[in-house]
């Protein structure tokens, strides 16, 4: 079946712009995770959902970041008033349950100029 998909794959934003990154999880996966990966580093946790409930958002770096998953399927990560330090790859992962294997999408590479 299809894996996790993310769009757009690449996004260039001017500093101060708002961006929205989309994640389509594997069909039937109830758990969805967002990670941020800086160049040359491992992914770092941002937030996760169980169905439509956001159970942990402790990794969101500032109040400019928020995520939603209103119908328990597709999720959107929104970054308001982007800053240069937001430049990174944003990865989405889904799993069939919270303690199960997380499968990652290809990521969205965000560059803030």
């Amino acid at each position: 079946g299809a894996g996790v998909s993310q769009s757009p794959r690449y996004k260039v934003a001017k500093r101060g712009q708002d961006v929205a990154l989309r994640c389509d999880p594997i069909s039937g996966h109830v758990s969805l995770f967002w990670y941020q990966q800086a160049l040359g580093q491992g992914p770092e946790f941002l937030t996760y959902f169980q169905n439509e409930a956001q159970l942990d958002k402790s990794g969101l770096p500032s109040d400019r970041f928020f995520a939603e998953r209103p119908e328990g399927s597709v999720s959107t990560l929104k970054i308001q008033r982007t800053q240069q330090e937001d430049s990174a790859v944003y990865l989405c992962a889904s799993s069939s349950g919270l303690a199960e294997t997380q499968y990652f999408g290809p990521g969205t590479r965000l560059l803030v100029l």
């Binding site: 491992g42 770092e44 990865l91 294997t101 997380q102 990652f104």
Partner: protein
Amino acid sequence: GESVGLHLPTLSVQEGDNSIINCAYSNSASDYFIWYKQESGKGPQFIIDIRSNMDKRQGQRVTVLLNKTVKHLSLQIAATQPGDSAVYFCAVTYSGAGSYQLTFGKGTKLSVIP
């Protein structure tokens, strides 16, 4: 919190040799461990996992070893091939606290010499 460290940031091996990539973690309560492979421009790809009630698990050409006493995890790749060239991450989680986030190491870049 959890921290995950790597032993070598880069590893070069001859094609056909075996590769061993190591990882250390800090939280003795960690109970789920995963190895991912990440190629340039792609997301992490699941390779193999192991839970804390096991100390060894084998897949196709890969073996994961878990030593809970010294909080050490390793990935062994048999008969390494050029297609194995990538960055390998170990990831760790502790599900008992209700947090299912993965904590990743910084990764080891494996280069296979033909």
